[in-house]
Every structure is written in C-alpha cells, then in structure tokens.
Symmetry: C2
Subunit: 209 residues, 2 copies
Amino acid sequence: MTIRVLLVDDHPVVRAGLRAMFEEFENITVVAEAADGGAALSEVARFAEQGHPLDAVVMDLQMKPVDGIIATRSITEQFRTPVLVLTTFDTQTNIVAAVEAGALGYLLKDAPPEQVQAAVVATAEGRRTLSPDIAATLMDRMHRPVITLSQRETEILTLLATGATNREMAQRLFISESTVKTHLVHIYSKLGVDNRTAAVATARAENLL
Amino acid sequence: MTIRVLLVDDHPVVRAGLRAMFEEFENITVVAEAADGGAALSEVARFAEQGHPLDAVVMDLQMKPVDGIIATRSITEQFRTPVLVLTTFDTQTNIVAAVEAGALGYLLKDAPPEQVQAAVVATAEGRRTLSPDIAATLMDRMHRPVITLSQRETEILTLLATGATNREMAQRLFISESTVKTHLVHIYSKLGVDNRTAAVATARAENLL
DNA sequence: CTTTTTATCAACCGTTTGGACGATGTGCGC
DNA sequence: GCGCACATCGTCCAAACGGTTGATAAAAAG
C-alpha cells in the first residue's frame, strides 16, 4: 500500500530530484507532476474523477501564473487532498498564508531526504509537519502583535514603496492629499515609525510588501 | 569518454534532481557533490591532486557560508576547472558577478533538462553558455549607462533605506546635515529621481542595495 | 443598538526636504 | 601642473512632509 503523490514545482530539476528521492523509498510513488498551480489542480481533479484520489500533494509556493498558496487553497477545499508545502523560503507571511490556505505541512527544501520522506508519510496520514526552523519563525510571529493594515492603507503603502509623493498618491487614488496624509499617519503608528522612508523599510522587514 | 561533473547546491533535493537527470545521459557522470562553496573547492582540489581533474562544475549561487561567486572565482583561478552556474535568479548583478568570477556558463534552474545537459557538455568543452533570458538581461544592462555611486554615496543610500533622517545620517557619519543633503542631491541625479523614497525604490530595482 | 474601524476631508503649524547657488580641500590621472 | 571627481560645508527659499485637532459618514463588530 504505497502513498500516491503529485509533485508540483516549476523547476524540472527539483521535480526530478524529488522523484529520485522517492523512488528509493518503497512507501511512496510519484504518479504525476505539475509545473504550476493550475496544472496541479487539474491533476488532482483528474485523479479524483477516476476514483483514485491522490494521497498527498508536494507543493512549491513560488510559481506562475498560479502560485502555490492559491493552488493549496483550491485543492484542500475542493478535494480534501492533503498538501505538504516544500519551499525555499521561510518568511512568516509565507508560512501563515500556507497554513491558512489549508496546508497540512510546511518544510524547507534544504531539509535532508529522510525528513522529506517522513513528512510526506505524515501528510498522507493527515498528521501535521512543521520543521523546527518553521516552528521557530511562527513562534516569533506569535510574540509580537500582528500588524494588520486596512486595504486602503496597503494601497498607500504600496505606492509609497514606489517613491510616490503625497500628491501623486492622491491623484492616483482619487482622494485628497489630506486623506493620504491621514492614512500615512495611521500607517506610521501601526509600524511604530515616524517617516515614510522608515515606513517602507520596516514594511519590507515585516514582509508587508 | 564521459564528462565527470561535481554538483554544488545546498539543497539535497536539487542535487538529487541533477544527478537523476544526468544518469539518463551517458555522456555525463556525477562523481561528487558539495553543499557549499568551501566543500566544492575541497572536492575540486581532491580530484586535481589525484590526477583526475574534473571536467566541469555545476554551481548554485546562493549558499552559505561560502557562496557560489567566491567558489567560482577560486575554482577557475586555481584549478582552471570550467564552471557552469545554475541558479534560480537572473538579476543583472548576479550574472555580471558570476561572469566576472570566471563562470563559463549561466543557466536558470527552470530550464528544460535537455538544455541543462547541453550546457554541461558545452562547459566541459570550454564553450560559453547563456540562455536567451540571461542574454536579454545582460543586453538590458548594456543599454542603460551603468549607475556607479561613490563609497560615501553608497553609505548614505544604505542609511536612507533604513529610514534615517538627514540629521541621523549626519550624526552617524560625523558630517553636517548640509553635506548629507549634497550627497543626496547627487544620488538623486544619478538615479534620475527627485525624492528619498523614490531613490530607495529605484536603488532596489537596480540592485544597488 | 452602540462601539469600533475605516475612509474621507480640512485647517494650522512647525520641521524636513529638495534645489540652486557658491566655496574649499584632497587625491588621481594625464 | 591642470582638470576632474569626490567630499566637505554654508546659505536661502519654496515645496513637501509630519503632527494635531476636529469633523462626517458608512461599514463591521460587539
């Protein structure tokens, strides 16, 4: 009774690597590959329709046009197929987004082969997987209060990171300069900062861009 | 007569993938692997001492503690072993740095297997390899005049990206605010910009940070 | 239904910036 | 030695920004 897995990664090299790793492991069989989120969803659907639903999906995050977060959400919601996220970066937002999208596990690509295999088994059995690094990053986030910006504030911040002046932002968003300034003041206070350049700096540091 | 290759990448998954890809190709044999630049240099040296120098090195860039650029420079200078850089990102600075470090080829990880194999063969034979994307990025850089900042200007820019005010920069660099402002004006004109936030933005875009 | 959040605008005031001069000293290449 | 790039400092003024206060109104949350 082997675990039937779909590999999702935009790099052929990585897919080949995972395939090779899993071939040495009797419990796991790679039955399909996909190069982006859209293709992944199609594959999952295909197997579900055939009455042979997959046991697990190994998913990278950064892909285009459809990224791994969106694909994970669709897959878990519509097919209940467990997803293990295997990616390069461990930014807080990535992890949080993946978990919220329904990912059962989150692992980094530099993990040793045995760890990857163990994680796939765990995922197929419905158990959660979090590597120590990831857990640490999550703990970090729990400590400090979560910084949440409103939609409008995020728009302002995005334009700010472009180097736009208040007037330019006002024109592009069809609001007055006064309003822009008010939003900025709110952003500053939420970020614990007192000027625009610093706001962009800490926004980057906090991965809000 | 097969090509004897060393794989250098910090991700076991990627190494396994390349190994698997090359196993299906008779011309290429993977004789060693390394997880960082230091280990790579050791391996190259080991084979050279044994009188069986390697035919090519396939090298990732982002690794720690010793990154791929440094390793490439050392390997090409000291052992004349041809290096093919295989990485995820195609920023201008990365490419330029790799080529200047002596890399014979530069390829992206999302390249199809045949292309990777062809590149390895070319590298072992001393021929240059540049994927079209890479070439395009280089052309881009050639077009627009290279932006060079003086040391002091770079210091200012770095502090600027922190969100520092003119006064703070002046204090930290032990100069007057006037001087800071003068440097800023120069930076703006070099970057084709007219305010600090925009300066940071385009500096990031141009990879000057 | 009340409170909070969010988005909008205005007016005022002090500070910071950006821009446009000019000026001096130092090191480097030709 | 001459010119050039660089770093340093100064002044002056207009524009942009930041902080405050206050106000309205719709939407979300409680």
